[in-house]
């Protein structure tokens, strides 16, 4: 209260705790978004188009063979006043390339790097193979002069404050599992943010975070689930932010899983090898109903594939005859025609009568939405003569069975897509299948399709964004019709913030984009706090004290009263 | 000194009432030692506890208990507390249970001093040493816990405690029952010596007539909540029950009891279902027909002796 100009503070609630303040080690989403605010990157998605735009790299050129990239690093300062040079970037990448421990956070981003060198403000990266996603590099550039002193990156917790960074904010405090406090970086090259302090506050209990938002303990919260989002309705001070999200939810179908040397693996149901069966399943899913009932209407039914409509450039949607709509009769007909006869119990068998069409549906434990999904799918599949049983697995087991050993029939899946979709597209490549020994992988489908492979290579080399998008859409179409995965819906990005605290915030992309859940620091750089007169903004601490004091007083009084009463009654009923 | 007038104690249980003491009248003069005998369940302890109103809440007490001319049963709470221990103190049967197991015995002896005499700590501990010496225990024993003492020593501590406030009356409820023969002799010797030295009145309770006869001037015998005989400890018993009780403890060397144990046929009465008439008649070897129907009160049967039997006196 001593400060004449009240600090402008915005508090953001999150339901995931920070895992590590060391960017080389951190893997959690929440940590990623905090890094975006503290550190500069080579590029940042443009706030309007989501296309890569200059960040620490002012400009860049690429050699004709696409193997050498030269970035010009901006003349700017670290938050401790040291100049930022290409050396910092080169050190960061080289560290990751040479030190296994430093790969934990963003290892794959440098896998294709052959060498990284610096010369003044010029950074040169040589690749092993051409890479279209080069401009979406997710690695924060670290200040060499601070970090080179760290002996063992793998054991360094980076809990030194204030942090030395080049982003709009500087971390000044982190309490484990509680909060991270960021202060505006006055030397930020785009200019100082409009607020003074940004607090990122962790909630273990989502319900409590909603309460916190309603009470004003926090000012903004992202990644809401539909029911929590609904419950913000009717609060005049809260803006419900509902836009298209980055995510696609789909089913992964074991259509005959193979290893990287094309040997069959796993115990998938043979019927699922038949694209007709997969299509029939696709017809038997009422995506609109799922959206309504499971996602509370806050999602878009997926008539496309794995890239959500948020990314307009790359989004593809089926239309015309190709489009599959919920039609149980049609699903039944397809199966009947393909020779899957219904038995007396209403369950179909394979044409050769060998096996019943009984599929397992693998989901995660502790995932209520998936549970609910399973219940609906079971209901519909039953109508078309297919039995679906639910199998709940913890996440490691799930990853193993659906990604390596292929011990599944149908599994839930989903992916949060980055502005550049290469990563998600890559998860359906032949090369991602596990080796015979069960290693490697990262496949999301065990898919291995020559058409898809060649399209992938094509888009990877294509540096013209428009043409590349066309190729990518063909890939999506392929996935849609061949149905190794069946997209269900694209969940909306649901957020909420208090308009009595936040005067302005620019989503990314600016037109109906995301706030917390977006990529890049834009929303938080553009944050404007409602300026309040008087000390009320800062009054939290003292009023808290007062309330606690009163509470303590009440307790003491109650106890005292109790004792007095007890004394008085004590004399009366002495025992004889 | 102490006068019981038609004292009665009834325990109210959920199902029924237990008339444990049914009209007991007794006098105890200053400096006198009175023995109260009777079998288990005859109401001896109930009498003792009623004297200081120590009975549990479920007990209903009738009659009067005059202690030094004051009716204990009508006393105000504060007065009663003052009377307890300073005028009359109690030594219980189970010395191991009568002492708080987690308190040093010195503190337990000193406690009534601090409560009633408002004694200072130093005075109290001095007195504790004196008391321990009186009962023949070394002073350092004050720092012992009850379990570190033998049964006889514990009983002596109880006695020391009872003497703490120099009461005029000590009630000793079966002070030696749980003790060994030799230890019992030690304790009895101590009690005899103390009452002789201090001129204290004693009400001593036991089921062993020979023990009582040894210490007391007069004896009272209870049966089923009633007094059946009161008289000097020397001399022949007149009530058949008292006689049977006396015979149950044979005299070693007495040829009459050699290879001829004697007892009463039948079972001790259940206070909840007392027989009509004289409560003793079902077991009485000399019962008359009238005994089954008409009850008998204590009647004089010679100088200083009274017995509740139709066959005595008159």
């Amino acid at each position: 209260a001593a400060d004449p100009a009240p600090k402008k503070v915005i508090k953001i609630g999150v339901t995931q705790a920070v895992d590590s303040m060391n960017p080389f080690l951190a893997v959690r989403l929440v940590t990623g978004s905090i890094q975006r605010m503290i550190y500069g990157f080579l590029t940042v998605p443009d706030s309007k188009t989501l296309q890569p735009s200059p960040d620490l790299a002012e400009s860049w050129t690429t050699s004709p063979d696409g193997l050498t990239w030269t970035f010009k690093i901006r003349q700017a300062k670290w938050s401790d006043g040291q100049p930022i040079t290409a050396d910092d970037a080169a050190w960061t990448f080289n560290k990751m390339m040479t030190d296994d421990a430093a790969k934990t956070g963003n290892g794959p981003a440098v896998e294709n790097f052959a060498s990284v060198t610096a010369n003044g403000q010029e950074l040169t990266i040589k690749l092993k193979a051409p890479q279209a996603s080069m401009l979406d590099n997710p690695v924060p550039i670290m200040p060499k002069h601070v970090w080179e002193k760290v002996k063992d990156i793998g054991k360094y917790d980076a809990e030194v404050y204030p942090t030395v960074g080049s982003g709009p904010y500087v971390a000044v405090e982190h309490k484990k599992d509680q909060f991270v406090r960021l202060e505006a970086n006055p030397d930020y090259w785009r200019g100082r943010p409009k607020i003074d302090e940004l607090q990122i506050i962790f909630y273990d209990n989502p319900a409590a975070s909603i309460v916190g938002l309603k009470k004003g303990d926090i000012d903004l919260i992202g990644r809401l689930n539909p029911s929590d989002f609904e419950s913000l309705k009717g609060d005049d001070n809260i803006v419900q932010w509902n836009t298209q999200g980055r995510r696609a939810t789909y089913l992964q179908v074991n259509h005959g899983a193979t290893t990287s040397d094309n040997k069959p693996i796993g115990d998938g149901h043979p019927a699922l090898k038949d694209p007709k069966v997969r299509t029939a399943l696709h017809y038997a899913i009422d995506k609109q109903k799922l959206v309504d009932e499971v996602q509370g209407g806050l999602a878009k039914p997926a008539d496309g594939s794995i890239i959500p409509p948020l990314y307009k450039d790359f989004f593809w949607e089926a239309s015309g005859a190709e489009k599959i709509t919920f039609d149980l009769a049609k699903a039944n007909k397809i199966l009947d025609d393909a020779g899957y006869k219904k038995g007396a119990d209403g369950v179909r068998t394979m044409p050769d009568g060998s096996r019943k069409l009984q599929f397992r549906f693998s989901i995660h434990t502790d995932a209520p939405v998936e549970d609910k999904l399973a219940e609906y799918l079971t209901g519909w599949f039953k109508e078309v003569g297919i039995t679906l049983t639910t199998k709940r697995l913890d996440s490691s087991k799930f990853t193993e069975e659906t990604g390596t050993t292929a011990l599944f029939d149908i599994a839930i899946s989903g992916w949060s897509v980055n502005p550049d979709p290469e990563e998600v597209l890559g998860t359906h490549l032949c090369s991602r299948r596990p080796t015979a020994s069960g290693d490697g992988g990262g496949t999301e489908s065990f898919y291995c399709d020559p058409t898809y492979e060649s399209l992938y290579l094509e888009q990877q080399k294509e540096l013209d964004r428009g043409k590349r998008a066309e190729t990518i859409k063909k890939m999506e179409e392929r996935l849609y019709t061949d149905a190794p995965v069946i997209a269900l819906y694209y969940p909306n990005d649901l957020e909420g913030y208090r308009k009595d605290r936040i005067a302005g915030i620019t989503p990314i992309p600016e037109d109906k984009g995301l706030l917390y859940g977006g990529s890049g620091y834009w929303p938080f750089y553009t944050l404007e706090a409602v300026s309040k007169d008087g000390a009320s903004a800062d009054g939290g601490g003292s009023s808290t004290g007062v309330i606690a004091g009163i509470a303590a007083g009440v307790v003491v009084l109650a106890l005292a009263g109790f004792f007095v009463l007890r004394r008085r009654s004590g004399a009366a009923d002495e025992r004889e | 000194m102490l006068e019981l007038d038609e004292l009665s104690v009834t325990y109210r249980l959920e199902s029924s009432d237990v008339p444990a003491v049914r009209g007991v009248s007794l006098q105890l003069a200053a400096g006198e030692a009175l023995g109260l005998a009777g079998e288990s369940g005859s109401g001896k302890s109930s009498v003792a506890l009623a004297l200081l109103r120590l009975l549990p809440r479920s007990a209903v007490v009738g009659g009067r208990v005059m202690l030094d001319g004051e009716d204990v049963l009508a006393m105000k709470w504060g007065r009663l507390r003052a009377v307890r221990w300073s005028s009359a103190s109690i030594v219980f049967q189970g010395a191991q249970h009568g002492l708080n197991p987690v308190q040093r015995i010195g503190d337990q002896i000193a406690e009534p001093l601090l409560v009633h005499r408002q004694a200072s700590g130093a005075d109290a501990s001095k007195r504790v040493r004196e008391l321990l010496a009186q009962v023949g225990l070394p002073a350092w024993r004050a720092r012992s816990y009850p379990h570190e003492l033998s049964g006889g020593q514990r009983q002596r501590v109880m006695i020391a405690m009872a003497l703490a406030c120099e009461p005029q009356l000590i009630i000793a409820d079966e002070p030696t029952t749980a003790l060994d023969l030799m230890v019992q002799a030690q304790v009895l010797t101590l009690i005899r010596k103390l009452i002789a030295d201090h001129g204290i009145s004693l009400l001593m309770i036991s089921h062993d007539l020979s023990v009582l006869a040894d210490v007391c001037d007069r004896l009272a015998v209870m049966y089923a909540g009633r007094l059946v005989e009161v008289g000097p400890s020397s001399g022949q018993f007149q009530h058949p029950y008292s006689q049977a009780l006396a015979a149950a403890f044979p005299t070693v060397g007495d040829p009459a009891s050699r290879l001829a144990p004697r007892g009463l046929p039948g079972d001790p009465p259940d206070p909840q279902q007392l027989p009509g008439g004289c409560a003793f008649h079902p077991r009485c070897p000399v019962a008359l027909e009238s005994c089954a129907t008409s009850d008998v009160q204590l009647r004089a049967s010679g100088a200083d002796r009274a017995a509740a039997c139709v066959l005595v006196g008159e």
């Binding site: - | 030799m182 144990p261 001790p268």
Partner: protein, 317 residues
């Protein structure tokens, strides 16, 4: 019938010290004989009784029954226990509160698979003086008086037709007026069935009441034994003398000082010497404090184990 020879029983007490509860005992119970074992609390009476029944294994020495040494195999023990039976001090505790009188008495016959259970039970109850037996079959222990309970326990033992009864303080917890009845029962059983009995007690009066022979125990040893009249009317051992002197009716008391001794620390020499009134009065000899005494043999003749009284005893003969 039942004989113990040089019996020793030790317990490892707390703190690793060994308690020599029974420390060299020779004792025999003849056919149709009632022997009383007396002594103060903790001197090892119960331990001796339990060992005689095979409930406790002796550290050394042996038990023999009818001349054959007791074997501790399950089968032999079971056979032995048909012949030798136990009656305990606390009749309430000796009866399982959840078993009826019938079940309590039938337990033995069931264990030994005797035929005609019901008749056996009825007969045993009748012999123990609970008549008519059928009236008691369905009663629970808490519905009986103390004397009746003790009769049930005795009936339970009689149901097996034993030859020897070991009674550990059989009347200590009973009302004075009832105890005479139980003792009479024991005498009658001896007369009618020829039962032998070892009665363990601390009550000299009881011994006088029913015993043919008395053995006085002190700190794990029998210090004096012999026919009841001899021992109780003319005690030789200073300890027996003291015990008898503190009976209320006796004129001049010898109250021993000190607490009952501790079987983990048995004094050297005569084990009684620290409390002995003769030693205290200076009438003891050198041997009292230094020289251990012989274990008394299992004879029926009067005998005493004392350095001083030995002389007296021999004189008397």
């Amino acid at each position: 019938m039942l004989e113990a020879t040089d019996l020793h029983v030790e317990f490892s007490g707390r703190g690793g010290r060994r308690a020599r509860a029974v420390d060299g005992v020779n004792l025999s119970v003849g056919a149709g004989e009632i022997v009383a074992l007396v002594g103060e609390s903790g001197c090892g009476k119960t331990t001796l009784a339990r060992t005689l029944l095979g409930l406790e294994r002796p550290t050394s020495g042996q038990i023999s029954y009818d001349g054959t040494p007791l074997s501790y195999s399950g089968r032999a023990l079971r056979a032995f226990r048909r012949e030798v039976q136990l009656v305990l001090q606390d009749p309430m505790g000796s009866l399982n509160p959840r078993h009826t009188v019938y079940e309590a008495v039938a337990e033995g016959p069931r264990i030994h698979r005797l035929p005609d259970e019901e008749a056996v039970v009825a007969d045993a109850l009748a012999r123990a003086g609970l008549r008519p037996p059928e009236r008691f079959f369905q009663r629970f222990p808490h519905e009986l008086s103390g004397g009746q309970r003790q009769r049930v326990v005795i009936a339970g033992a009689l149901a097996l037709d034993p030859k020897v009864l070991i009674a550990d303080e059989p009347v200590a917890s009973l009302d004075a007026s009832v105890r005479g009845e139980i003792l009479s029962l024991l005498l009658r059983l001896r007369d009618d069935l020829g039962l032998s009995a070892l009665v363990v007690t601390h009550d000299l009066g009881l011994a006088w009441n029913i015993a043919d022979r008395v053995a006085v125990m002190y700190l794990g040893r029998i210090v004096e034994s012999g026919p009841t009249e001899d021992v109780l009317k003319d005690p030789q051992h200073p300890y027996t003398q003291a015990l008898l002197s503190v009976l209320p009716e006796s004129p001049n008391r010898i109250v021993l000082t000190g607490e009952p001794p501790d079987p983990t620390r048995i004094p050297t020499g005569c084990r009684f010497h620290p409390r002995c009134q003769l030693v205290a009065a200076g009438k003891g000899t050198e041997a009292c404090t230094t020289q251990p005494l012989q274990v008394l043999p299992a004879t029926t003749a009067p005998q005493v184990s004392c350095h001083v009284a030995d002389l007296v005893g021999r004189d008397r003969k």
